[in-house]
């Protein structure tokens, strides 16, 4: 039997191997979509799962990343990685503003104020001339990585996206296990106690919110390069609801939960839409929501972890 300390390393190794080989079996653009949403859901989970804040406005960051990157790549002609960096920075800055306004509120009020701010951002994107309104920002060039490697080919694009995902995921993993992450968890469990211990709770929450927004922006920026398109779908409040579903389904507060959840939801939307069940996609997503809330509140990964703990330890 594998000793406990080796377990994660082996797991990570196997998963990385699978991710590298995956495009041989599965359509790479679909895989890239999964990775982008997995990163988005992981970023969202950093907030809901580890700080206990339900944001209902995360679509704003996804869309901001996408639009800014798209604008920079189409208008300024910078290389792809710079476009993504600027998109991410813009989302981070927006996250800081949202955070400043919202973190003093709790529970439902927090969810509602983030929703309202995201609606304002949606309005800005509808009105601003550079976003192309309903048409979206189209024909974003994939360009060249570091000015050298062409990303036009789906395979090279895939490995670039995988690298971005691993970077984002590792950042989240490091954050959670750092002393900073421990304080976040303490806030989630018992905020008054964290305050009484002398932590500046608001500052920690703001930092976590900004980080989460930045990573969501990174996901949006990457997505816009993959699909060469940034559109209002990403800014709509339905998107904020979808990321809640992904996280809940996979497992709130687990590292891999959001990844599994995103993969499941994206696959459902992709494969179900083609079959005879096509017009039932919304209903099926709704059913999953209901079943998760009633029966599997810890999500797929959470339930597996529980099962493992019960039977193997």
């Amino acid at each position: 039997m594998i000793s406990k300390s080796d377990n994660p390393k082996v797991l990570y190794g196997v998963l990385l191997g699978l991710a590298i080989l995956a495009p041989l079996a599965i359509y790479p653009v679909f895989l890239m979509k999964v990775l982008c949403f997995a990163l988005f859901a992981s970023a969202f989970n950093l907030l809901l799962g580890y700080v206990g804040l339900l944001s209902f406005g995360h679509a704003a960051f996804l869309a901001t990343g996408g639009y800014i990157t798209g604008h920079i790549l189409t208008q300024w002609g910078l290389s792809t990685e710079l476009g993504i960096i600027f998109g991410t920075l813009a989302a981070t800055a927006l996250g800081y503003i949202f955070g400043k306004l919202a973190i003093r509120r709790q529970g439902i009020y927090f969810a509602m104020i983030t929703l309202a701010l995201a609606q304002l951002v949606f309005f800005l994107f509808v009105q601003a001339p550079f976003t192309g309104g309903e048409n979206g920002l189209q024909g974003i060039p994939r360009g060249n990585l570091f000015g050298l490697i062409s990303l036009q080919d789906n395979l090279s694009m895939y490995y670039f996206v995988l690298a971005i995902f691993i970077f984002g995921f590792a950042l989240i993993q490091r954050t959670i296990h750092s002393p900073f992450g421990q304080v976040l968890k303490a806030i989630r469990e018992n905020e008054p106690r964290a305050i009484s211990l002398g932590y500046d709770v608001d500052k920690y929450k703001l930092l976590a919110f900004t980080l989460s927004a930045g990573l969501a922006g990174l996901a949006g920026s990457t997505k816009s390069v993959v699909f060469q398109l940034a559109s209002l779908t990403d800014a709509h409040w339905h998107m904020s609801g979808e990321v809640v579903l992904m996280t809940l389904l996979g497992g709130v507060g687990t590292l891999f939960g959001p990844v599994v959840g995103a993969a499941t939801v994206v696959s459902l939307q992709n494969y179900l839409a083609q079959g005879p069940l096509g017009s039932w996609v919304t209903v099926i997503l709704g059913l999953i929501f209901v079943i998760c809330v009633l029966a599997f509140r810890s999500g797929i990964v959470g339930e597996i972890q529980k099962f493992m703990r019960k039977n193997f330890e």
């Binding site: 529970g107 929703l115 409040w237 809640v244 996609v281 919304t282 209903v283 709704g286 809330v293």
Partner: protein, 295 residues
């Protein structure tokens, strides 16, 4: 002719009246949400879907059973409320001890199921529902032509809203309700059947949504998605008014209708966004909303 804010007063009055009509929908819907939140501590995300069900119940009734508008006005809310009660008894009940977020997520899922099924059966494009004969035509008020049916909406919804407010604030049943909100254990000890009270309250809240749906059917198209965009606006209204505040939700509903109406004159593109701006400002200045009590 004198002008107010750069437009003739006739136009301004007309727009304010139109705003009030839309506001009376907001008031009915947000009142239902506020009652449910007050007693059940659940953010009822399926409120929009239940509003849509009300409109559809009226349309289906007319189409297949020849049920006329006036009967539908009573029957549709009763049917939809019965459906709501079923959901409460079988599903929502399991969540009362959990964080409210789970209630929100569950009802969000239910809304997806209900709306998705109706889209599958009826498509998204709306079904027409005729204005009842006795309410056709209109009155010239001097500053505008007011269709009789729109006038009826204001009257009907104000009567229902303030009737509900009176019932909750001034009657014995209302006193139980308010006490149930404050301290359910104590009420149980006094021999009041609190679970039944909760079920009936949820049913009533849902019935209000369905009633709004029936009222809306003749002026908007009856469509499966008619509730989904309205829903988040109504949430904003409830939050601005102060979660759980009965009078707050009614007055804020009307006020937001007015504000939205005026925005349609001065900056129409922003008319579907202005309420969220108001909400952010209110929450920053008065965190518990206009009529809410600070926790």
């Amino acid at each position: 002719m004198t002008e107010l804010l750069g437009i003739p007063p006739q136009v301004l009055f007309g727009q304010m009246l139109i705003g009030l009509i839309n506001g009376s929908f907001y008031a009915l819907l947000s009142l239902g949400l506020a009652i449910i939140f007050g007693l059940l501590n659940i953010i009822n995300f399926s409120h929009g879907a239940q509003y849509m069900l009300g409109a559809f119940a009226a349309w289906l009734g007319l189409q297949y059973f020849g049920v006329n508008y006036w009967v539908a006005l009573v029957l549709a809310p009763v049917c939809v409320a019965a459906f709501g009660i079923l959901l409460e008894r079988t599903l929502l009940r399991r969540l009362y001890r959990e964080d409210h977020l789970y209630g929100l997520l569950l009802t969000f899922g239910l809304a997806l199921i209900i709306e998705g099924s109706f889209v599958h059966w009826f498509g998204v494009s709306g079904q027409p529902y005729a204005v009842p004969e006795s309410l056709q035509g209109g009155q010239n008020l001097g500053f505008m032509f007011l269709p009789t049916y729109r006038g009826w909406i204001i009257v009907a919804s104000l009567v229902v809203c303030f009737g509900t407010w009176y019932m909750i604030e001034r009657t014995r049943l209302g006193a139980y309700l308010r006490a149930g909100t404050e301290n359910p254990q104590l009420m149980q000890a006094f021999g009041i059947n609190v679970p039944l009270l909760i079920t009936l309250t949820y049913g009533y809240g849902v019935a209000l949504a369905a009633l709004a749906g029936v009222l809306a059917a003749p002026i908007y198209q009856v469509s499966p998605v008619m509730g989904s965009n309205l829903l988040i606006t109504v949430f904003a209204v409830v939050v601005i008014g102060g979660m759980g505040s009965i009078l707050g939700s009614i007055l804020t509903g009307l006020l937001m209708g007015l504000i939205e109406g005026l925005t349609k004159v001065f900056y129409p593109e922003a008319s579907s966004t202005v309420i969220f701006l108001v909400m952010i400002i209110i929450l920053l200045v008065r965190p518990a909303g206009l009529f809410g009590k600070e926790a």
